[in-house]
Symmetry: C2
């Protein structure tokens, strides 16, 4: 049975690491997150081991256009949450960091304030580390923080695209940040985010135009927010000056109220919808990999691609033929 040894070795290694994470070992957590982020061979098994120990943390998503002061806001919010004696995990998602390296700098700035505070764990994620996609990997990193025992996990994304919207969907409570004077500041958060926001923040509220931005947001909510999820919870609009801590207590209060109001049924429903999406996503990816690997191995893929290159077949029809041929038994 010596052939069985390597898997046993891995199993033991993974369950030992998971055990340490659950036992609140910082170094184990950092190691686990690195494995998850790099999609290490242990990553799936590790995520599976941690999963039963999740579901405790309140996951707060913070997003908004560049320049809206999100990082400062997250920093200030963290300080307020810490005063309540709760531990905080922060995941800063920066898909643009291959270009800017911004995530690293952001880390350093925030680290200074919370340095030495063992109740705060900060992690930056760059798109380049996550070949399997930012959203799925972020989900597993958040779960590691949850299993570790963080009471609150804050996920911060720069709100400029589809990926960020995707990432925000992992949150229980979604905070959308804007600032006065960002052109038509309400316009900047109009599509996509307006629908999913649970709480609006007008940051840098000491700038001129803040009251106008608040009024614009309120008008938009009044006209546009008649969906079902708006019935029990109308997103508050909170003015903050994150740099000096103004309005942050109110923000934290709103996040907590949101979770209470939505608790039980609605939160569970949302969580179930998210899990369904996640399973479907994993099935899609897995099946696709399975099919294409099988076809590549027996040369079918090569001959199909050659036909497509000769313009005898278009790519979508080729795909449909593959699916029909290989999945007819389903």
């Amino acid at each position: 049975m010596t052939a069985g040894k390597p898997p046993h070795g891995r199993e033991a290694r993974v369950s030992e690491l998971a055990r340490k994470v659950i036992a609140h070992d910082w170094r184990a957590l950092a190691k686990a997150i690195t494995k998850i982020e790099n999609e290490d061979t242990d990553a799936s098994a590790l995520a599976a081991s941690l999963y039963p120990h999740t579901g405790h943390a309140h996951i707060i998503g913070v997003t908004g256009p560049p320049g809206s002061g999100k990082s400062t806001l997250v920093d200030a919010l963290t300080a307020v949450i810490r005063k309540d004696g709760l531990s905080v995990g922060i995941v800063a998602v920066d898909p643009s960091s291959p270009f800017t390296g911004g995530a690293v700098l952001g880390d350093r700035v925030r680290m200074q304030r919370h340095a030495g505070d063992t109740g705060v764990f900060i992690r930056s994620m760059a798109a380049r580390h996550t070949p399997g996609g930012l959203a799925p990997t972020t989900r597993d990193v958040i779960r590691a923080l949850d299993a570790f025992g963080c009471d609150v996990v804050i996920v911060e994304t720069v709100g400029v695209g589809q990926v960020e919207l995707e990432v925000m969907k992992v949150a229980d409570t979604i905070v959308v940040v804007t600032v006065p004077g960002l052109g038509d500041s309400v316009q900047t958060i109009k599509a996509g985010l307006l629908e999913i926001a649970d709480c609006f923040v007008v940051n840098m509220a000491d700038r001129p135009g803040s009251a106008l931005t608040v009024a614009d947001l309120r008008a938009m909510l009044t006209f546009g927010g008649a969906e079902e999820r708006r019935r029990r919870w109308v997103p508050p609009i909170i003015e903050t000056i994150a740099i000096s801590g103004v309005g942050i207590d109110q923000l934290w209060d709103a996040c907590q109220r949101h979770r209470q109001v939505l608790d039980a049924d609605e939160l569970m429903g949302r969580a179930r919808d998210r899990l369904r999406d996640e399973v479907i996503e994993a099935v899609t990816r897995g099946v696709g990999a399975y099919v294409t690997e099988a076809l590549s191995r027996n040369g079918t893929m090569d001959s199909i691609v050659a036909a497509v290159a000769r313009r005898e077949l278009d790519p979508k029809t080729a795909a449909r033929q593959i699916i029909e041929k290989h999945l007819k038994t389903l």
Copy 2:
């Protein structure tokens, strides 16, 4: 056989529209692109009808960090290409436009210069219009322009993330733009883009620091560019002042030389790799949709999601079980 009528109606409609696009009918092209972008029910059939008529256009991708003057560069490049008597299609991809509305403005600015020139067709794409993903939709829009008869198709993306990198991969020739003084300007294009660039542009070259930026790029190419595709083609570094047209002739010349040097074997190899990726992507998406729909219909998905919500099963293991159970005949 009256039941066969609606599909026949659609087939006729699609092939008539495709015929008009291929016959260089502007209005038909605009209509076809709208159908493709909105993933209209005719979109796949239309793309399939156009596909055999593609492969003529030289596809040039232009990307770079925000503020590098990409749109002005594309505008100037278009003017130079037009002087050679070639027709140009421009696809401006702006995934951030749900937030900024930037694409619309960009259009208007450029439209002024090329207004009334029937040799230039401009189209902006926003992420929100493309539920099936920006890269696949962009691919089909480019093909419509190719089938329409555009000699050159320029794809412009704001270079800030994974999506844009993905979109760039559709191009034959990839132009990466930077400007002096964007912080460490070479740093801003370091990861991901450096590897895929066929041509570098230092735009706004009348700004201080231009020579330094060129030197930095050259150093980086010398140290980092030992991959296979660099053997036959070393990416030139071209200084431009797009707003006054300086250096644009050289850029167009470089693009043409690049296509000649890579012609035949290498371009074909690249094209085949891209087609392979595209087929795999379509198979993955199609199989995933097929499997999840089947499972949702018979209630399997509900019971699995419930188990995952109870933390009895983690999402990835659930997905693996589904795959193993339903694809064992493959």
